[in-house]
Symmetry: D2
Subunit: 344 residues, 4 copies
């Protein structure tokens, strides 16, 4: 049994991670850490979760390190890099759901997050936790930077095209739409029910941090620097991200050729669904750890359009973190992870 | 392994039943029957469901009977009673999700469903599949009438009060609110997105069939005939039923006394959650097989208000059907059933 | 031209009042008061509102009184009674949208609002601003307590029955469902989008303040004290209240008899729609100043069920306030008020 | 008074047109035509609409022509071109809300609508009814092709850039998101509440008819043929379109320079709102005849992103049709049209 602790268990991502881990047969919960709710049960914050989960505790890195095999850190960006060095030093494996350990280059972090990285030496140790691209590195990693939700959905939608140099990478546009749980549990005016409901908006246009993550990973695949447009939109739904990605084809290709390429590229990936026809919708993935990808080619324009969907709280956060844990501990990559979407 | 077939696998209830059964370790799928989609895969109708499920077939009672241990019939009301006699005659266990085998009295069926019951002799054999009230009978049943969604939520909310004669049963009012999946998959003008969204309505006031089911079961508990008000409302959400039940107390009782009574009444029930304080919301149960019940007493009026919630597609349909199957086959009642709500 | 000022113009009710007044041809805006946004334009807080509205100001009672004919106070409960005496003393007509001036009896206010009323002498002057019941008094009033949203929807649904002594008033149960804008603009955890969306809950069971308002008005109609059950529920929609009201009939009556009675009772009311058949839904009233009422009789039980709907921000707040203003200034009661619902 | 008839009054666009016309002081309703509901009142189909509107009638072109000054045809694509020639021949002014009279070139119509145009000679007479681009032509038009909803939102977002040759027109990508009322009133499986709710999807990728309309109008502004990517998405909201448009800048320009250009370009347009900062959301326009446009420049990429919003049923259909009527009859362009958004 893998002994598991979660730091930041009461945010939406942390609580979803706990819910998913309840279905995992190879783990045992050790500590659930929450600054705000220490002393309460997670089921008091999220009625409907298992009442037998351990009582929420304040953070004590020594205790966690003493009796856990792995810690998931689901803390606000910036907070992770303060607490992880201590855990890492004690030999614990760490899977970080924040943006703090996703970067190869501390300067890129500093530029997009607006502050210096306080543990740049650990950044060198951390592995970008996207199993479909970095499976071997994840297997031997001690510290994994779990990818962002938008980035998971965007990178996997474009990776086969970029890797195979099928598109003019200067023309990439990613128009992404996310459910509101992606913005977290903290109430605020723009996230008040009546402000979100029956509306839609773009936000952080040309400025969203996930842009840099997408660019980092696609650039590595491409072998040359890629810069691209990424525009997030807020949807009046709880869960799910749909990304519509556009690029000019570098040479003529039909949709069926591209579909075959994608199927081959992801042939061994248990959570990637390439559509032979049609396009994915949020309800095709929500509740599962899957990413679904459909492809269309606009022959008039020589442009490919990839539509990809994930559940932002599962493949975009807690589910992918478990997938990474499974790999780090030599388990079946899919252990304990939901394969079927809820649909309703 | 229990060999399972589903008749009517492509309706919302049937598909949810299939999704849930995918998580059940003691079953094997034999036949998935669909008149409209025979030859296709269920995952073509519900992308996101497991692609390895058997191909949908047209109905052939002999084949089903030959190689299945249990058939779930998730057919429209009226259709079940035409097909079940043949299955039953061949020795198959049957769990019917329609209203056709829920009644003790064929006359009550005829009155509320507007047609004679074509298999009244089987009505005598069938057991009302509400495990919290009829567990022993279900264990030995060959034919189970799986309760309605509204009725499950309503009966369990009132059973301890009625059984213990704590309320004036002539004053019962049940005001119930349901997500739209309860109306099924068939498109129609009143279920068009723009008609349901941002609206709410009452329907079938003083005329909904589930009234008769609630009255039948509460009357048995009470030992005398109960007639009550039941008013369903349509909500702009996919899943979940919330019932607010009102009755005058026959004698003074505090909320905490009633809560203690409910906890005792349901002490051995794995899926009943009695709230010690606060009241349940849809998000506390959706995704799980739980029913959550909260209680308030209006001391000014001597009236008790019980608020109960279920996921209409799980505890109100497919999940309860699996709970019944577990009991009929000697398994742990909770085997394969989701205990935690999604919350988000 | 009536010179109008609004105190609390940036709350949902205040902003909706401003939006509606923009369509009123007999008024001129003088001052829009906002503590939080003084110096900004209302259209900066609510993009989409008219950009030519006056700049928001901090409160100065002397200035308002000097150049306004009427002040609408759309302030939090408790704040109104602190500011209104000064306005009233200067001869201004005041229409208060809070709960502070709705009561005949300061003790009832103190009991349900948890604090003493600081201006009980003004409570004697104030008129309960429900035009369908108190039109003459409103016409000559200087201070109007604009009714609550739930109360408007509930009182008008039951008034004809209570006034004509057709029901056993000890059996009244009002089960009400409201859109989330009724909870105001202030963000909080329970009003966060992901908490409200795809859920429904009951709240303040047996304890909501509007109970006392409904009881006050129905008791006056009845000529004897009425106490009743009122249960509010929160819906995942922006606008609208639907109230389902139940009572035992004191003597036998058919739905068509009751419908005729209601039509007669409200014969001269421009905003009351009595359904000859069918029942109202939120989308039948949202966007309008109407209340729509449908009636059913459960003959098995001798119980009447009245279903009523209003737009909580219009007939339940700003629209009714304008209706009161129209009456107080001798205009056509319906001047400037929307008669058609949006439907979509 | 302009004597007005509506053909197709019971679709969502037709009914919204009728609702809006109820607020127009210079018109009188003559005939409301509905094939399906002849003999009923529009308020029976849309409870909440004015009960005094004329009874719905079957189509009789002679009667309509005899006593109307203008006919609005809100019929399915293809049906308009069959009925309009008769009306036009009798001297009636016609405003067509379908796609049948929006094209300069019958071949383009045939290519995108999949059938020959049966009245190509009238296509030469018809004017494209986008007042912000064709005001003078509309004023003297006898037949107006009212623009599509997506097209209105897209063309106006890009017109100043295209007209001023500020972008590389081969790089245009329009990612558009629409509320479900845009799909009309007819129920179908993909528009069933539970299918749309809590989901989002792209549809008709690289194949939506509105692409050709956008290309026609932008090509005229540009003086050379433009082909572009247009991708529609279905949102779980009733109303509103948000389009996110991308293009490479032909030469360097800041957001503030572009905003100034847009303000100048639309200086005399009563319904165009250019944001000086921030970006529009659906709730900023729904309920009004406005289009709101915000602009961002991604300096890293030299790409401009324009975000535009309209209410698809008002500026995208009925409201724009009224704006055209006002122009055709010499009224104030804004007469009777809602200027403020509902926000809630």
């Amino acid at each position: 049994m893998i002994r598991v602790s979660i730091l930041g268990a009461t945010g939406y991502a942390g609580a979803e991670l706990a819910r998913l881990l309840c279905m995992h047969k190879e783990i045992r919960f050790m500590h659930l850490i929450s600054r705000s709710f220490a002393g309460k049960r997670l089921s008091e914050v999220y009625p409907g979760l298992d009442e037998s989960l351990p009582v929420l505790e304040a953070l004590d890195a020594d205790t966690i390190a003493a009796d856990s095999d792995v810690a998931f850190t689901s803390l606000p960006h910036g907070a992770s890099k303060e607490v992880i060095p201590a855990l890492y030093a004690k030999g614990l494996k760490v899977i970080d759901l924040s943006g703090d350990f996703r970067y190869d280059d501390a300067d890129v972090y500093a530029k997009w997050y607006g502050e210096e990285h306080s543990a740049p030496e650990l950044l060198k140790e951390s592995v970008y936790g996207l199993p479909e691209l970095h499976k071997d590195a994840i297997k031997s990693a001690k510290l994994v930077g779990n990818p962002g939700c938008y980035t998971t959905c965007s990178i996997l939608a474009l990776a086969p095209l970029v890797k195979n140099r099928l598109i003019d990478v200067s023309t990439i546009v990613i128009d992404a739409k996310s459910g509101t749980s992606g913005a977290g549990r903290e109430p605020s005016q723009p996230l008040h029910f009546c402000e979100v409901n029956e509306s839609v908006k773009a936000y952080k246009v040309a400025a969203h941090r996930h842009t840099s993550e997408i660019e980092q990973e696609l650039s590595k695949l491409n072998g040359g620097e890629i810069m691209l447009s990424f525009t997030p939109h807020l949807l009046p739904v709880n869960r799910g991200i749909l990304a519509t990605s556009y690029a000019k084809l570098a040479k003529k290709a039909s949709a069926s050729e591209l579909i075959a390429l994608y199927k081959s590229f992801y042939a061994n990936e248990p959570f990637v669904k390439i559509y032979e026809s049609g396009l994915p919708e949020l309800k095709h993935v929500n509740g599962s750890n899957n990413i679904a990808i459909g492809l269309a080619v606009d022959e008039r324009l020589g442009r490919v359009i990839a539509v990809s969907c994930i559940d932002n709280l599962i493949k975009g956060a807690g589910g992918q973190a478990i997938q990474n844990m499974n790999l780090m501990f030599g388990l079946d990559e899919a252990e304990g992870l939901p394969k079927a979407a809820w649909y309703l």
